[in-house]
Structures are given as C-alpha cells and as structure tokens.
C-alpha cells in the first residue's frame, strides 16, 4: 500500500515539540504584557479641555497640592478644583489668555469644565484618600511626579495587585505624614534613614486592610 503522507511529515512531531513550548511561552508573555494594566493603563494621557500644566503650577511655582485639591485630607474623594479656584489668580493673571477662555466662561455661566478623569477606579472599589494621607503615603507613591507633568498621565497601574503589594508591605511607601505633598522628599537625606516604626510623629501604626471589605464595601 502506498504511503499516504510524504516523508517530510516525519518532522511534524519535532516541529510540534519545539513549536508548542514557544507558542505557549509567547502566549504567556502576550497575556502578561498586553493584558496587564501596567501596560494598558500606565501612560494613559487624555487631552484635557483646558491645557492645565501641573509642571508649571506645582513644579515651577511650587504650589502645595492641597491648595487646589483641598478635600484630599478630609474626604474620600480628592476634589478637582472648581473654576472659582482658578479665578482666584486668573482674574488678575493672564486675564485675556485664549487658553483660559473655557475657565472664564465656566466661571461666568456656572457650567462645569469637562475635565477628563485620568485615574478611574471601578465603582465597586471604594478608594478613600484620607487614611492614605494620614498614614503618610505621599502623592508621588501613587501619582508619580505630577510636578513634572505638563499633561497628567497615569504613572501606576492602579490594579488590585498593585494596591495589595503596598497593603501587604507598606513600609517603602510611607513617609512622615507632614511630608505627603512634598514631591522631593524621596530624594532627601531624611528619606534614606526613615523608619516609620520609629517615627515619633505617629500616634499609631498604619494597618492597611488586606481583606475584601477594606475596599469592596
């Protein structure tokens, strides 16, 4: 009886033996890389309706974060400042800049500026800014060097695993609570020797929750 398959088909098992692990390895890499928030989310940088520059305001002019995001220590939600906050200065400064036209209109008409939210957690995760600031987690730990960003972008993946890594081992991200808005603290001499367990400023130790109801209330 003649052979059904040509001789080269003898090489198929070898090809499968070599190819299958390669395909498997590539699949694992592809899912790990392109499906992970550290690839898909980090660097998200939508265009904002008003070209607000954090690099100018927080960086060059050295404004404290809490001047605008004034609820961050007192509320779960860190507020986006209303147009009125902008107009505290911009009623005097750059009053006819076309880049601020939308702010002026908003201030006059009362319509909100349609800012685009960059850090968007799903609604089943109840993030609260207060305990993080109280525990001494600096802005930089989660939002990156905002003071160097002309346009805000996501610096961290905000994935559950990323949250849990810090909740399980918070030490590296803790600083004296008085330094939370200091963008340069990590480079300081104090940071190198800082041990949150021996910080006299702290009345109690942070106890980050790792159970479900910590966030998924």
């Amino acid at each position: 009886m003649p052979a059904i398959f040509p001789r080269w088909t003898n090489k198929i098992p070898l090809a499968v033996g070599v190819g299958a692990p390669l395909v498997g390895a590539f699949l694992i890499f592809a899912i790990w890389y392109w499906w992970s928030p550290s690839f898909t989310d980090v660097g998200y940088r939508p265009k904002q309706p008003v070209p607000f520059s954090h690099a100018l305001h927080a960086g060059d002019m050295g404004m404290d974060c809490r001047y605008c995001h004034n609820t961050v220590e007192r509320a779960a939600h860190a507020a986006i400042p209303p147009s009125a906050t902008c107009m505290n200065c911009h009623s005097q400064v750059k009053t006819d800049s076309p880049r601020l036209a939308l702010i002026r209109t908003s201030y006059e008409t009362g319509d909100s500026v349609p800012w685009v939210r960059v850090h968007q957690l799903p609604d089943y995760a109840y993030f609260d800014h207060r305990p993080h600031l109280a525990a001494g987690v600096g802005c930089v730990s989660c939002h990156g060097r905002i003071d160097g960003m002309d346009v805000v972008e996501m610096a961290k993946p905000m994935s559950m695993g990323w949250c849990l890594d810090c909740h399980r081992n918070p030490g590296p991200n803790l600083r004296p609570p008085s330094q939370v808005t200091n963008m340069n603290w990590a480079e300081s001499e104090e940071a190198k020797s800082y041990d949150y367990k021996n910080d006299p400023e702290r009345k109690r130790m942070p106890a980050p929750p790792v159970h479900c109801s910590g966030c998924h209330r």
């Binding site: 009886m1 928030p37 550290s38 994935s159 559950m160 695993g161 849990l164």
Partner: protein, 463 residues
C-alpha cells in the same frame, strides 16, 4: 445472522463460556459490519440527525436568551437558587459515568463482554460530560468571568477558594473530561487505522490517517497500547468514583437538612452508574437494531447491563431508605421535616415519580423474561432516566424550598427557558452522538476481535 437471536446463548468453543459474538462471523465479516454504518450511513442516520440538530437549535436559542437577558429568565427564586441547571448538570455527569465504568472498571475486572459496548459508552460519556459542563458554566450570573475559577496568576493577586466543592467540580469534571477523551482516543487509534486503510476517498484517507497517528499494528505498538490502556483504566477508575463524589459534595458539604448527609458520595456514584447504564441501554437497543449489530451487542450484553442496573438500583433504593431512617433516628426536627416534606409536601409528586422509577422499576429485572427482552429493557431504561432526573430534582429542590426558616419557604416552578436548556442539552448530546455514529466505528473492532474464539491461540485444538 443478525436476526437469529437464540433463546439460549451459544457457547464459546475455547472458553466454554457464552459466546460474545453470535452467528460465527469471520474477522473480515466483523470489520465489514462495523464499518458499514460509517461508510454508508443510510437514511436512518439522517432521521436521527436532523431532529437532533433541531434540538440543538433550541439549545442555541435558550442559551442566547439566557446570556442576553440574564439568569433571571429561569424560574429560580431566593430559597431555591439551584434549579434545573444543577439538576441537569448532575444528571448529565451521572450519565457519563457508565461509559467509564464499562471501559475502565469492567476492563480491570477482565469482563470481556464490555468490548462490544465500550466504544459507544465512552462516546456517551464524553458527550454527556460536554452537556454537563454547560450547566455550571451558564448557571453563573456572569459566565464570562468563569476563568476566575482557574488558579492563574493575575493582576488582582487573587486565587480561587480551594475550600469550595464547586471549585473541586471545576477540577473534577475537567479532569474527567480530559481523561475520558484520552482513554477513548487511545482505544480508537487501531480502529482509526482500520478506517484509514479502508478509506476510498482522499479526504477520508488523510483525515483517518492523521488521527490514527501512523498506527501499523506492530507488536511493539500493541505492547505500548495495552500498557497505556491499562494505565488509563487504572486512572479512570478512581476518577469515576471521585468525580461523582465531588459532585455530591456540592450538596453534602452544605448545612442544609436533606443535603448534609454523609451517605451522598457512594449513593450518588451508585445513582450515576444506575442512570448511566440506563442511558447506554436507551442508546444501544435502537442502534443495534437499526445497524443490524444484534449479533455483536447480544441479548447477553443487554442482560449483563440490566443486572448492573438492578444492583445499582437496589443500592439507590437502600440509600433512599437509609436517608429516611437517619432522618428519624437523628431526632433532628429539621432533618425529619425535610424528609416528611419530600414524601408528603408540595413536591410529593416528584418524590413518588422518583421512587416508582428508581426503586420499583429496576426490580423487574429479577425476571429473566424482562431482562432478556430488548423492548422491555428499552422502556425500563427510559423510566430509569426519568427517575434519576427526578432524584436530582428532589434532592436539589425539596431541600431548598423549605429549610430552617419558614419565612423563606417558597415554591419553585421552572420557566420555558429552563425547559429549553434541558431539551436543548439533549439536542447537543444527540447531535454529537449522531456525528460519532457517522464518522467513527461505534464498536471497538480490535477489542471485539480479540475476544472472539478465533483469537485464542488454542482455537481449533481438540483438548
């Protein structure tokens, strides 16, 4: 020869036992007869296939609506949040167990009569497990997140909870499916080579050629084959027992009166074998007739299967009695109530259907006339299938609908979509089974040939 079923079984000239293939066909005749349905299916196949395809359409519609609209299209309510989906799941998994019992356990016990039925019984297992797997997948509210039950590293740093028997189900049923498929496929390889060598068209030759993996039937091939088959049989045997045990843990691990019972694991396994064998009879009795295979799947085979049905049916009956005894003996008011409620509550009709189908009807097998009559066994097997579906219904629903708190008592009625999923799952099953009959030899040729008297080295000797 197919029609000449003798009242008394003829004897094997070598072993002196009952002959497994009647009418004395040669090896070649046997190959011709078994390959005929695959090589020229005939009208009967279409008559079976097209309605099956129609029912598969029902399944598609029921599933589509379920996914679109949500699991609330079913008749579930808050006390009874496991309804037909779980009933069907356990039903189908149970059906699947006879296949592995026939192919693995009877193989370990050297029961040669298994050879005529094992191929189709294993096919039945695989298709029944496919049907079963639909239900745990789609009874979840969000089936698209089912992969969360897999222990994979992920960006949430979350793992499944290994304490839940529903997670064990995932492992049990997927392992069971994989091992059954491998077992079936290993058994198929020599027969696929036969199909390859008989193929008349190029496509068939290439297709069977690929799947027969270059089988030439050398001694070395056969030696490895037998060893692999024995190993798989040894692996599949504990699987049969553990898989349905794990399915029974879904209930037995809970705290519910009527569910929290230690008898469940063996009792569920007995029920699975009981229903599985009934399904094998339901399938094989018409098939042997339509395909003229009555000399290969003989009355003796049917009789043996009926005896296993009698055995396991009696075990199931014992378990029903024991549940009632313990309910009374425990002195627990909830437990007693659960069983009184089964027999006399709003679902008493289901309970008594179950009792009459599962406890009373298999006892008819004691009568030789009945266990040697294909017609009677066919009817009986249908009753057993119905009864075993109701067993799962009774266990699931009657325990849930009235439990500890009377304020959470309710009555569960299925909707048309529950019915659609059940009927549709039969469509899925029969479609797959018809395709099996159409493309694969439904009798393990190589194995049947090995148990024919001619295969014995002593054949033709006079001592």
């Amino acid at each position: 020869m197919a029609s000449s079923i003798k009242e008394r079984d003829s004897l094997d000239p070598v072993r002196g036992r009952k002959l497994l293939v009647e009418g004395g066909p040669s090896f070649h005749d046997l190959t011709e007869q078994v390959c005929a349905p695959v090589e020229s299916p005939g009208l009967a196949w279409w008559v079976a296939f097209l309605p099956s395809l129609g029912l598969l359409g029902v399944y598609g519609i029921a599933l589509g609506w379920l996914l679109w609209e949500g699991v609330g299209v079913w008749g579930l309510n808050n006390p009874v949040d496991w309804g037909w989906a779980i009933v069907n799941f356990v039903f189908w998994v149970g059906i699947g167990h006879a296949g592995t019992l026939i192919s693995a356990i009877l193989f370990l016990f050297r029961q040669q009569w298994r050879t005529a039925v094992n191929r189709s019984a294993e096919a039945m297992t695989i298709f029944a497990v496919i049907c079963a797997l639909q239900f745990p997948t789609f009874h979840t509210g969000r089936p698209w997140l089912l992969y969360w039950t897999a222990p994979l590293p992920n960006q949430m740093e979350m793992w499944p909870n290994f304490r839940s028997p529903l997670l064990w189900d995932v492992f049990a049923v997927s392992t069971y499916f994989t091992v059954s498929l491998l077992f079936w496929y290993v058994g198929l390889v020599p027969d696929l080579a036969t199909m390859r060598d008989r193929a008349t068209t190029k496509i068939r030759r290439i297709a069977y050629g690929i799947f027969s993996l270059g089988w030439r039937g050398s001694t070395r091939h056969w030696q490895h084959y037998e060893k692999a088959y024995l190993l798989l049989a040894g692996l599949a045997t504990p699987l049969v027992l553990s898989v349905h045990t794990i399915v029974s843990f879904d209930f037995a691990v809970s705290q519910l009166p009527g569910w929290h019972t230690t008898i469940f694991p063996p009792y569920f396994v007995a029920g699975a074998i009981f229903s599985g064998f009934a399904m094998v009879l339901t399938l094989l009795i018409p098939i042997r007739k339509w395909y003229g295979l009555e000399h290969i799947i003989t009355i003796k085979h049917l009789e043996n299967m009926a005896k296993i049905i009698l055995l396991t049916g009696s075990l199931v009956g014992y378990a029903y009695g024991m549940e009632f005894f313990i309910a009374w003996y425990s002195g627990n008011p909830y437990e007693s109530f659960a069983f009184v409620n089964r027999a006399f509550g709003p679902y008493a009709w289901a309970y008594w259907i179950m009792i009459s189908c599962n406890v009373i009807s298999p006892q008819l097998v004691w009568f030789k006339k009945i266990r040697r009559s294909p017609k009677a066994l066919f009817v009986l097997s249908i009753f057993v299938n119905i009864g075993m579906w109701f067993e799962r219904f009774v266990i699931t629903v009657t325990s849930l609908h009235r439990d500890f708190l009377p304020s959470s008592w309710d009555y569960y009625s299925p909707t048309i979509w529950d019915l659609g999923m059940l009927i549709g799952s039969f469509g899925l099953f029969f479609t797959l089974f018809c395709l099996f009959l159409r493309y694969l030899p439904m009798i393990a040729l190589a194995e049947v040939k090995a148990v024919m008297p001619e295969a014995s080295p002593h054949f033709g000797e006079d001592h």
